[in-house]
């Protein structure tokens, strides 16, 4: 009969450790401030000419890290709701990363300020004209009347506050309860978390959907797709799974929580990644195919932007790199149980996820120029309007990443990286994949 492990923590190191945190944390914060600050200055955030490119780059990296955070929050909620036992030992890592929602709220401030301040470099709908209908509403008053009821700075700001309130509440509520359970082992905490997650999930999903509309769909204010929130959701879940994989692998490499997270957990996380690679592909394809098939210009222009003018390269990279290659690569059982391979796969998936958000956001930078070409009827020649990622993108990515890692260290502090007394701990330690 298979060996039964007792429900107790046996790893020598279970926390991040105070000394290493106190050494690493200031470095991370300095790097974060330096990189983001440098990006602001050299990216032209304070000049009128370069601001649009900078704001778009900012939004790309921002959405990348936000989607990981939101995906981790979702992961924690769904494990509670389904009373999952296998994931108990990896859940704490996800909880900690979910708490990065607080620095993400702070990082949102530049975007919020630019919108409230009437800056149209990111969202063209921000400025309300003195009279008549603006250009972004194709000069149609009726369209403008409807859209501006939703797309206006005041309501944008109010909604953003609501979203972050909901997300911060969920993340910190679940984390603090989980940490409390480390001391008492109280079963009621698990029951409470489970009960709260049900209604909170409603709020989470609605806020995620409308955040997707607000922050990424409204970049093209005339475009709409009911599938868009689902598409963003798929990306959130996939990137958070890859990040949880990555973080667990890295933590174990440093000798922490070596006994509690087994190859079975990696196998399961890899299986979930595989499933969501397919799910992402299915959602992305459905959205594309429906718009392609009906061929209605008021919808297809969004995709035309991303297939012409040189952007086709990014679309192909996404198709092959985000769907085909990882799908084939993560199919085999042996692959899913090989830690080196999984480390590489997680990094690859995250890189592709960044390309995904780049592909959503960046083509809107030169949108007005494309539109001119569409009505003239001439095909857009290759590589004329593509915007390749540059140094500013790198700076912003590194800066925000450093802040993300710093948040991990700060939130985790001296607390355990696995739930110490979760009632389902024995399940996490005692299952295996056949």
């Amino acid at each position: 009969m298979a060996h039964i492990r007792k429900a107790e923590i046996t790893s020598p190191i279970v926390t991040l450790g105070g000394e290493s945190t106190s050494r690493v944390l200031p470095v991370l914060l300095v790097v974060a401030v330096a990189c983001i600050g440098a990006a602001f200055f050299f990216g032209g955030a304070f000049k009128d000419t370069g601001r649009a490119a900078f704001m778009h780059s900012y939004l790309v990296s921002y959405m990348f890290f936000l989607s990981i955070t939101l995906g981790c929050i979702f992961f924690v909620m769904i494990q509670h709701l389904t009373k999952a036992g296998w994931s108990v030992t990896v859940r704490r890592v996800a909880e900690i990363m979910g708490c990065a929602i607080f620095p993400m709220a702070i990082l949102f401030i530049p975007i919020l300020l630019s919108v409230l301040g009437g800056d149209t470099s990111l969202y063209t709908w921000v400025k309300e004209p003195a009279d008549g209908a603006p250009e972004w509403a194709v000069g149609d008053q009726r369209i403008f009347d409807i859209k501006s009821t939703f797309l206006n700075p005041t309501w944008f700001g109010i909604r953003a506050v609501v979203y972050f309130t909901i997300w911060t509440f969920i993340a910190f509520r679940l984390y603090t309860w989980s940490v409390k359970q480390d001391e008492t082992g109280d079963k009621k905490i698990s029951l409470k978390s489970q009960a709260y997650c049900a209604p909170l999930m409603l709020g989470f999903v609605l806020s995620l959907a409308f955040a997707a509309f607000d922050w990424e769909m409204s970049l093209a204010p005339m475009w709409f797709s009911t599938m868009f929130p689902v598409y963003i959701f798929a990306g959130c879940v996939l990137s958070s799974l890859a990040t949880i994989l990555l973080v667990c692998l890295l933590l174990q490499k440093t000798g922490r929580i070596t006994d509690e997270i087994t190859i079975e957990h990696y196998h399961d996380l890899a299986k979930l990644c595989f499933a969501f690679i397919f799910f992402w592909g299915y959602i992305a394809f459905s959205q594309f195919m429906l718009i392609w098939y009906a061929n209605i210009p008021e919808e297809t222009f969004w995709y035309r932007f991303r297939f012409e003018g040189g952007w086709i390269l990014f679309s192909l990279v996404l198709l092959f790199g985000h769907l085909f290659i990882p799908f084939l690569g993560m199919m085999a059982r042996t692959v899913r149980r090989n830690k080196t391979y999984l480390l590489f796969a997680a990094i690859f998936l995250l890189a592709m996820h960044w390309v995904d958000h780049y592909w959503i956001v960046m083509p809107q930078l030169n949108a007005s120029v494309y539109e001119g070409y569409f009505s003239s009827g001439e095909p857009i020649t290759k590589t004329e309007y593509v915007q390749y990622p540059g140094f500013i993108d790198l700076l912003l990515f590194v800066g925000m990443g450093a802040l993300f890692v710093a948040s991990f260290c700060l939130v985790s502090g001296n607390r355990a990286l696995v739930p110490l007394k979760d009632p389902r701990l024995h399940e996490a330690l005692n299952y295996d994949n056949p």
């Binding site: 409807i146 859209k147 999903v205 429906l290 009906a294």
Partner: protein
């Protein structure tokens, strides 16, 4: 030597530190076999079985004659007309196909998620899928007009037609999707039944039964080497069936979404339809299993916990459907496309407002009852909500198709009325479904016996690890 698991009957307690026993009543391996085989081995099935068989046989006969009427007289016997060219047949098709999806989800997706409670219900659910897909496939099969040239739907060279099917058409994708779905579900169902048919073979006394069960169990001997390949094949089929479930109802949704009709052309249709399919499918499984477990003495294998879990899934998928409604309304307004907005307003306040009200009430409000544990562990309420959900989901497809009644050309606007043939065929399809299901109950193993035994063994193992207990909660 009996391996007692548990003696209690209410396994719906909530205790995070241990899992509720899934097989109650102190049943062991032998007990499980006895309970399940009893239905097929008893000299005569319960009286209620005969009554229901008679009724469903009559309804099936009515369906058959109506189909003959349709083939001889033509599609005009239905209510399909300008402007609602797609009437009840497409609604019924989507309705039945949607119901079928729950079976595959229970078999495949819950298997991949290692949800052990699925083993008591997956066989009946898979059977329900097969029969639902039969009922579903019948409708597009007979609505093509010239039914005798149905083979033109397939890529078979035909001198008479001198051309090939149009692979760009979602109606043709339907042909492939539903055929594949039927075949794969059948394979999955049959493969799951092979060990259980062997059980029946080894217990049967009459020569005919021994021969039939022996033939279809393929000589299964329970060899561990065979089990190994069997389990790998099962996992592969489950991994294939999962995207298949998604794809089939996605392709059905494409029937509507690839058009340019406002209210139909919206990109969220694929996952919205899939969620709706699972929603209605689980409701139908609950509606079937609650009476089944009571009438056929299966209460210790299909426990209240199983029904409660299914009710929770009904609630979740119902909320996904509600979310899709919300997003659709919002985008219809946000798009500032007056036709899109009109389509939604017309659904709610136009001539078919009553259908919309039924849909909304049954799909969004009624499942909210399941927030209360008392209701979701009550068998009567489960059936009532299940029936309500199925009614609501039929109306949802009806409301979608009725979008046609207020098209772009106001001179064509008119009110759709079904004919008695429409209604008769729909009622008859329930008869066909019931008929096949009753035959299944009598002749085939209604519960996956070998899988339930696996669950028993798993529970034992987890009990040793501290996860299960023979003691009820205090």
């Amino acid at each position: 030597m009996a391996i007692t698991v548990d003696n209690l009957t209410n396994n719906t307690f909530e205790d995070p530190s241990r899992r509720a026993p899934l097989i109650t009543g102190g049943l062991d391996n032998d007990g499980v076999t006895e309970v399940v085989a009893d239905l097929a081995e008893s000299p005569s099935p319960p009286k209620i079985w005969w009554v229901l068989l008679g009724v469903s046989a009559a309804l099936t006969a009515m369906l058959g004659s109506l189909i003959l009427l349709l083939i001889f007289k033509g599609v005009g016997v239905w209510g399909n007309n300008n402007p609602v060219y797609w009437g009840w047949p497409i609604v019924n098709f989507v309705f039945w196909v949607g119901i079928g999806h729950a079976g595959t989800l229970i078999s495949a997706i819950l298997f991949l998620f290692r949800q052990h409670w699925r083993t008591s219900i997956n066989r009946a659910a898979e059977a329900m899928t097969i029969f639902a897909v039969i009922c579903a496939g019948m409708f597009p099969g007979i609505h093509i007009g010239r039914v005798w040239v149905f083979y033109w739907l397939f890529p078979i060279p035909s001198e008479h037609l001198a051309m090939w099917p149009n692979f760009r058409s979602p109606l043709l994708w339907d042909v492939f999707a539903v055929s594949t779905y039927f075949t794969v579900s059948l394979l999955f169902w049959y493969m799951g039944m092979v060990p259980d048919l062997a059980t029946f073979r080894d217990r049967s006394t009459s020569k005919i039964k021994k021969f039939m069960y022996g033939l279809f169990s393929l000589g299964w001997s329970g060899s561990a080497r065979h089990w190994h390949r069997y389990e790998v094949a099962y996992t592969i089929l489950a991994a294939l069936a999962t995207p298949l479930v998604l794809s089939v109802h996605t392709i059905v949704s494409f029937d509507f979404a690839v058009s340019i009709i406002p209210g139909w052309h919206t990109t969220i249709f694929p996952p919205y339809f899939v969620a709706g399919a699972i929603f209605s499918g689980f409701a139908m499984v609950v509606t079937l299993l609650v009476p089944m477990r009571a009438l056929f003495n299966l209460k210790h294998v299909i426990t209240v916990r199983h029904i409660e879990n299914m009710n929770k899934i009904i609630m979740v998928t119902g909320m996904m459907v509600g979310l899709a409604y919300t997003i659709e309304f919002f985008i219809a307004w946000y798009s500032s496309n007056p036709f899109e907005l009109f389509a939604f307003q017309n659904r709610a306040f136009g001539p078919f407002w009553w259908a919309y009200l039924a849909m909304f009430t049954c799909n969004v409000f009624i499942p909210q009852l399941f927030w209360f544990k008392k209701i979701r562990t009550s068998m009567i309420m489960s059936v009532i909500v299940g029936i309500g959900v199925n009614i609501g989901m039929w109306f949802e497809r009806f409301v979608i198709v009725m979008t046609l009644n207020r098209g772009f050309l106001p001179s064509s606007w008119s009110y759709f009325r079904p004919t008695w043939v429409d209604i008769g065929m729909f009622v008859g399809s329930f008869g066909l479904f019931m008929f096949l299901f009753l035959l299944f109950c009598r002749f085939l193993p209604v519960i996956a016996i070998s899988e339930v035994k696996g669950t028993l063994a798993f529970q034992k193992h987890m009990a040793l690890a501290g996860g299960y207990s023979d003691e009820p909660d205090h």
